[in-house]
Symmetry: C2
Subunit: 440 residues, 2 copies
């Protein structure tokens, strides 16, 4: 199965666990069999591989997520990087060109497109395989998944099929309705539109060439920022007569808000948390290393991370976005392709961060114009290169890098470093990447 | 006025702002005229000095609070240090011996004893002056303050006076009653016993010598740990016939729990906090440098510090102690005589702290057997002495101290240092104090 996972959004609705650097799909919130936690993207990827070990997975996403994806899924996953955000039609066109020109997928092969963040079980991915098989052989140009509604939701668009068979032609699409209208749709046999569909690759490439002037993947990538924002629904689906829908009656939850996310949690808390016996329907997600004590709470979510603390009535938590938009907070945690960092102290004229490098990884060789840096290795083994000089380092070693001096660190084992930055203007933009000396 | 402030307790009821190292009276929670915040002990000390600029203030407390008291009140305040906790009678006897033998207070001078943590206005301290004046001239051996009850509280003991005059003899003491009984007491004219009283110094010294065999202050101090635990009420008050009570009708609040403490807060939040419009009767105290966002909360207190996060229904917050007793948490913040420190990272084999030294102060000269340390100065100017070698240091300087090497740092201005500790066994007990070389 060729599957494209659409990984979007800055995910402010799940603040403080999500932020501009970490979208909700990267929060490790789902307990695995071995007792550790995995993120939505890890869960979905694991489920796909379990259903189809040969699945070719491509993640369509923005540049800012590439590090986190490699960090969580490894280096082998395919990524179609959108140079900037241009809505779903350009994103799917770019992913299609990537599959054809970079991955060598043939035009008559089926491709399944699906958002990265539904909370589902393996039967869902079995249904996606079916969807792909149907798309490969059907006369229809698009085969959509229609999810059997469990309640008259006003949050989803609806698909009205012509019949009641497992697969039937689509009679009509309906925009997100009011609850009452949703009830009427459901009485007519309507299904939720979860944004999941399959097609033969050549079909979408043809639509893309009709609507965008480009030669191949690289050309499309290069002109991406000049494309107009348009959704796949608006650009393709609405103009297409040959559309089928395939029913899916399994578990499907949209993890968009704290309210729905906590429904998928196996226990009432993740991380250090104490809930007294007067707490009812309370969920705690605590990423800090100090305890959260909850007493006498009802219908609430408490979430704590290096970015901040949310304490919210569950129903209210859906309305979080405007409040988070107003928070002007230094990024306190980020996943990078080489590991992660966390800000542990901020002062006028200094910032201290804890850097974790994964084994075999290294930072870029770089320098800063306006700040000195000091590394103290606290755990692991590695090598530093400062001004071209390589040196072995272990726990307890101290490395000083005055402003202007290029430096990097290479992790031979998992490596943890406390980095103190000192300077009057400390900014992520004060960074010059430098080629390593050729002898290396 | 000679005034002894009893400063007790580990203050777990106000966790996470109070801990074993910081009792509730040191939490900076009260807004001052200049917009900064002061603690209960700072507020009370300021109020006393404002009412009586010549007041001789002595704080009776345990060793563990001495650093915090000097840090918050300066070096000039008198402290009677209890070598260990032995309840109020030994503590008051020790303070009395301290006043007589160390501070030279005469036996016929009056002394006022008062807990350090009531939330009061200046009229209270004017009443304390009156109480002292009365004790100096009265035939009674003890003059108690009786607080006019504002409701039938089950939390306080009651004093039943013989008459309704401003000053009258005490007819009876009553233990903390049930609410109904409290109502009956109040109908009989009973007053709250706030643990405030005055006496001539010679009277308490005489009682002390009757009950404890000791010669002078130093002798009493030396044998303090062999004394039996007994309250002043039980040892003295219950056996004394000559007791008067003086009425006080001004504002008096006991700040023992989050519920009562938040009543004294001028605004709904201290620190970075956002409360949406659906929050009602919510108080937030946030000592972290990231925001707390509260949505749709009612009758709640949220408190966040480096030690942890409390989210509690206000009424439930009174029952916090057993939960906090079970938290086995590394001390994350402490005030010391020379400044303060905060733990900013903990790993297996390392701990990173942020140290702030006040101008003119220094750590003890010391070494550690089982850990190396690295200081990176992030702000200010000072001097380090490492293995006898003195060196000027500024922001950006790095000082390495292998295990066994004695070291200290002296702050010439306010000095901030990131200290990385590296070793397999990191413990506060791994510390050897060393005499500085005589040449210094």
């Amino acid at each position: 199965m060729n599957i494209v996972l659409l990984s979007g959004g800055s995910g402010k609705r799940l603040w403080p666990l999500s932020n501009d650097m970490r979208s909700k799909q990267f929060i490790k919130i789902f307990k695995t069999k071995d007792g550790s936690y995995e993120s939505m993207v890890q869960r979905v990827y694991r489920q796909i591989c379990s259903v189809d070990a040969d699945a070719a997975v491509t993640i369509a996403t923005s540049k800012s997520q590439v590090s986190a994806i490699h960090n969580q899924l490894g280096e082998n996953v395919g990524i179609s990087v959108e140079p900037c955000r241009r809505d779903t039609f350009p994103a799917i066109a770019l992913a299609a060109a990537y599959l054809h020109d970079v991955r060598g997928v043939a035009e008559d092969e089926a491709v399944v497109v699906c958002p990265v963040d539904p909370y589902v079980e393996e039967d869902y991915f079995q249904a996606l395989q079916e969807l792909g098989r149907r798309a490969a052989e059907s006369e229809a140009h698009l085969v959509l998944m229609g999810i059997e509604p469990t309640y008259p939701s006003a949050k989803y668009g609806y698909i009205i099929p012509e019949g009641k068979d497992q697969i039937s032609r689509v009679a009509m699409f309906k925009e997100k309705p009011a609850e009452e209208t949703a009830r009427e749709y459901i009485d007519q046999g309507a299904l939720w539109n979860g944004g999941v569909f399959a097609f033969r690759l050549g079909y979408v490439l043809q639509r893309a060439h009709e609507l965008i002037e480009f030669t191949d993947y690289q050309d499309l990538f290069d002109r991406y920022d000049s494309l107009k924002k348009i959704s796949f629904d608006y650009a393709v689906v609405e103009h297409e007569q040959q559309i089928e829908v395939m029913r899916f009656a399994g578990m499907w939850k949209d993890m968009g808000t704290w309210n729905t996310l906590t429904e998928a949690m196996e226990s009432s808390s993740i991380g250090k948390a104490i809930l007294n016996e007067h707490c009812m329907n309370v969920h705690v997600v605590n990423e800090l290393n100090v305890p959260v004590l909850c007493m006498g709470l009802k219908d609430m979510v408490v979430a704590a991370s290096p970015e901040g603390i949310l304490v919210s009535d569950k129903a209210q938590s859906s309305y979080i976005k405007p409040y988070v938009d107003e928070i002007d907070q230094q990024i306190m945690f980020a996943e990078k392709s080489w590991g992660s960092f966390r800000v542990i102290d901020i002062e006028e004229g200094s910032m201290t961060i804890k850097v974790t490098l994964n084994p075999g990884h290294a930072m870029n060789y770089h320098s800063h114009a306006l700040r000195d840096e000091v590394w103290t290795v606290v755990d692991g083994k590695g090598r530093t290169i400062v001004d071209g000089e390589e040196r072995q380092v272990n726990a307890g070693d101290v490395i000083q890098m005055p402003a202007g001096v290029p430096h990097t660190i290479v992790a031979d084992t998992k490596l943890q470093v406390v980095e103190v930055q000192i300077g009057s203007e400390i900014s992520v933009h004060d960074k010059v990447k430098i080629e390593l000396p050729v002898s290396r």
